[in-house]
């Protein structure tokens, strides 16, 4: 099993997310993370999907996605050719004996304090999936009340854009 990140540029119609994710369901891929938003033009939406699976099945999936009339182009990302980023909100129990440790860890990872009370501290961290995983693992030594993380957003390290991808 490999982990893949692809971006799918789609026409901004209702139901389009359903069409794209339905293809993952049909091919029995589990989606690890998903992000959808409008792009630089409201005509298109960009769906970024992180999923695991076999290489042949992944290629078949991309071929099938290309057949959807609402899909304009698809780009596959690797760690080398792209910048990937996701965001975490994490709510920690505010306990006097750990407060200093939690703050130090947050500072080391560059997490920003977005809310603070006597009962809890909330941090925001934008980073790669791996760095966010590391930060959460560190926080597990204390009391995590709740976390929420987005899917990955990815852009290629080049002046080319997804709109220039030619259908294979």
């Amino acid at each position: 099993m490999n982990r893949y990140t692809i971006a799918v540029l789609v026409k901004n119609h209702f139901g389009v997310l359903n069409r794209v994710t339905s293809m993952f369901r049909r091919r029995q891929f589990n989606i690890n993370a998903l992000t959808v938003s409008e792009t630089e033009t409201s005509e298109f939406s960009r769906i970024t999907v992180v999923f695991s699976g076999e290489k042949e099945a992944k290629e078949q999936l991309i071929n099938q996605l290309y057949k959807l009339p609402d899909v304009c182009s698809i780009k596959e990302f690797t760690e080398d050719n792209s910048v990937n980023c996701e965001m975490l909100l994490i709510k920690m129990k505010n306990q006097a004996e750990y407060r200093e440790d939690i703050r130090n860890a947050a500072e080391a990872f560059g997490a920003v304090t977005v809310d603070y009370s006597k009962e809890y501290i909330m941090y925001r961290l934008s980073d790669t999936t791996r760095r966010i995983d590391d930060f959460i693992n560190l926080m597990r030594d204390y009391t995590i009340l709740e976390i929420c993380r987005t899917g990955s957003v990815s852009l290629e390290k080049a002046s080319t854009t997804i709109r220039q991808v030619i259908n294979l």
Partner: protein
């Protein structure tokens, strides 16, 4: 011209060259039916007994004409009754436009009476589907649907039209029929690569499917076969693509394919495959499938390339245009040793042939063959009779064999045969089994009402023969729920519906019955009695390879 959505819908269908639609009215499609009433001189509506029959009829019409088939239904149960028909068309890549009514946009999502999310339901079985929420988008949506249905690899498209969109008005301007996307050949470099493989091959085999018929590439394929002295086989969907009596043609390949065809494919060193998808019914165990052969694959749908088998050269492009570019690069050659080997397979097949003179399945189909014209469409249902038809029918013209290959839909044949009769404007034939016929026989009413010239040959063995065959071979003869034991009198049933029919228990009786059937004005049932222990042979057991082929019954029983 200011028109209602319903009028725009009908006008756009007419504008797109559609002169026959199949369907069934209901509450949420009433406005469209009102418009069909007004336009009845320009567009003919065939009312079936059930929406499923209408969907299969539109499919049969599309298969025999190459045009887009159109089916119309109401919302809710009308729409869900189309589902099997749409899925059948999807699996066999048939251009179909299905139009459903729905409740008003203001009521959508409130579980109203006869409301169903049909775009959700049909998402995985359509090329695309549309929910039209604004009357100004209706005409263009229909045009786009026609274009999509017939472009590239054809398939079904569904349009859901809420009632208030049918009543709302907007400007309509007539346009000319949409053209499918311009087909293009595969990349030149790939074609050169393919030519190199072909020129080096010593034992080439050409294998084609429904994609060859869609691309209308019969002549190009035959030229290739002649140039490289290659035998030809096909999938079930390819049948009728070349005439059965063509000297290079070995017949259908696969689980119940012709022995010679399967053996030639198994022994080839190169398989040139055209418009096929290497279904499991064709390959059996993929690990052991044609292990000595390199596979070249030309298909208009890139997602079919290297999908299930390993290919040395995959060419995405229109089969006809790609072959046209390929042919000049191919060197002419005779392959005497290979031809001799293929002949030996043919002789072996001849030895296995069923030579009994009683009313065997082979003799039944051969008797039918005597009555088939050049242009007669033969439709089938699914099961043993379908395989016997595939094996023994004499095909002459492309698009004249209509069968549910991918989905394997029992009950498909009757609707399809009605659609085929309208499509070809000739008498059509339905070969069916007593099991399959039982699924959609209410369409007898349709065939009688429209006086459709239709010969219905029921290969009646009183059992669900194909499933029973598997039970015999692989389930210790536990005949679980396959022995029908029904008392249906098919000729009497025909008469009850206002048609005619008779029973045949010998070859002579069958011959006489068919003679009357082919002279009859409307539908005519021939209840042909077949022994329940007749098997479809040869048979590659599921997941097996050519080493496991079963050619004779005695060896197994």
């Amino acid at each position: 011209m200011l028109l209602s959505g319903a009028d725009i819908l009908v006008k756009t269908l007419i504008e797109q060259g559609c002169d026959t639609v199949f369907g069934y009215p209901g509450g949420q499609i009433l406005n469209v039916y009102d418009s069909l009433y007004t336009h009845e001189k320009e567009i003919k509506h065939i009312l079936t007994a059930h929406e499923q029959g209408a969907a299969h009829a539109a499919d049969g019409y599309a298969r025999t004409t190459g045009k887009v088939g159109v089916v119309i239904s109401t919302s809710g149960p009308g729409a869900t009754n189309l589902v099997t028909g749409i899925a059948t068309a999807y699996l066999d890549s048939i251009p179909l436009v299905a139009i459903c009514g729905n409740v008003s946009t203001t009521q959508i999502g409130s579980d109203s009476f006869q409301e169903i999310d049909i775009t959700g339901v049909t998402l995985p079985i359509t090329k695309h589907n549309y929910f039209v929420s604004d009357v100004t988008e209706l005409a263009d949506t229909i045009r786009e649907a026609f274009k999509l249905a017939k472009s590239g690899r054809p398939g079904p498209v569904l349009i859901d039209v809420p009632k208030d969109v049918q009543t709302a008005k907007c400007e309509y301007t007539e346009e000319s029929p949409v053209q499918p996307e311009t087909p293009s050949p595969a990349k030149a470099s790939r074609i050169e690569e393919a030519a190199e493989f072909i020129n080096k091959a010593e034992r080439p085999f050409i294998y084609f499917g429904g994609g060859l018929i869609t691309a209308n590439a019969k002549e190009e394929m035959l030229s290739l076969s002649e140039k490289i002295d290659a035998p030809i086989g096909c999938s079930l969907m390819g049948l009728s693509g070349v005439p059965t009596d063509h000297p290079k043609f070995l017949g259908m390949q696969g689980m119940h394919g012709h022995f010679a065809s399967s053996m030639a494919m198994h022994n080839a060193d190169l398989i040139v495959s055209l418009g096929v998808r290497f279904n499991d019914r064709v390959t059996g165990n993929r690990e052991k499938f044609a292990t000595g052969a390199k596979i070249i694959h030309i298909d208009v749908d890139g997602s079919e390339l290297s999908k299930t088998v390993k290919e040395v050269c995959s060419l995405r492009g229109d089969v006809k245009l790609t072959l046209q570019k390929l042919l000049p690069l191919i060197k002419e050659s005779q392959k005497n040793e290979w031809a001799e080997k293929v002949d030996s397979f043919r002789r072996e097949e001849e030895n296995h042939l069923d030579k009994r003179e009683s009313l065997t399945p082979r003799n039944a189909i051969n008797t039918l063959n005597k009555y088939l014209g050049e242009n007669t469409a033969v439709c089938t249902d699914v099961g043993q009779h379908q395989m016997w038809s595939a094996q023994y029918l004499k095909f002459r013209t492309p698009r004249r064999f209509v069968s549910s290959g991918g989905l394997g839909t029992m009950g498909f044949g009757f609707g399809a045969a009605i659609g085929a009769a309208f499509g070809t404007e000739e008498r059509s034939v339905l070969v069916t089994g007593d099991g399959s016929f039982g699924m959609c026989l209410q369409e007898l009413a349709t065939a009688v009402t429209y006086n459709v010239p239709l010969v219905i040959l029921i290969m009646n063995n009183g059992v669900l023969g194909m499933v029973r065959q598997w039970q015999t071979l692989f389930y210790n003869k536990h005949y679980s729920n396959t022995v029908l034991g029904r008392k249906t009198d098919f000729p009497a049933l025909a008469r009850a519906f206002g048609a005619d029919g008779e029973k045949a228990e010998t070859v002579e009786e069958l011959d006489n019955a068919l003679a009357r059937a082919f002279k009859s004005d409307g539908p005519y049932i021939v209840d042909c009695r077949i022994d329940k222990d007749e098997f479809v042979l040869p048979m590659l057991p599921p997941g097996g390879s050519m080493d496991d082929i079963i050619v004779e019954l005695e060896a197994e029983q």
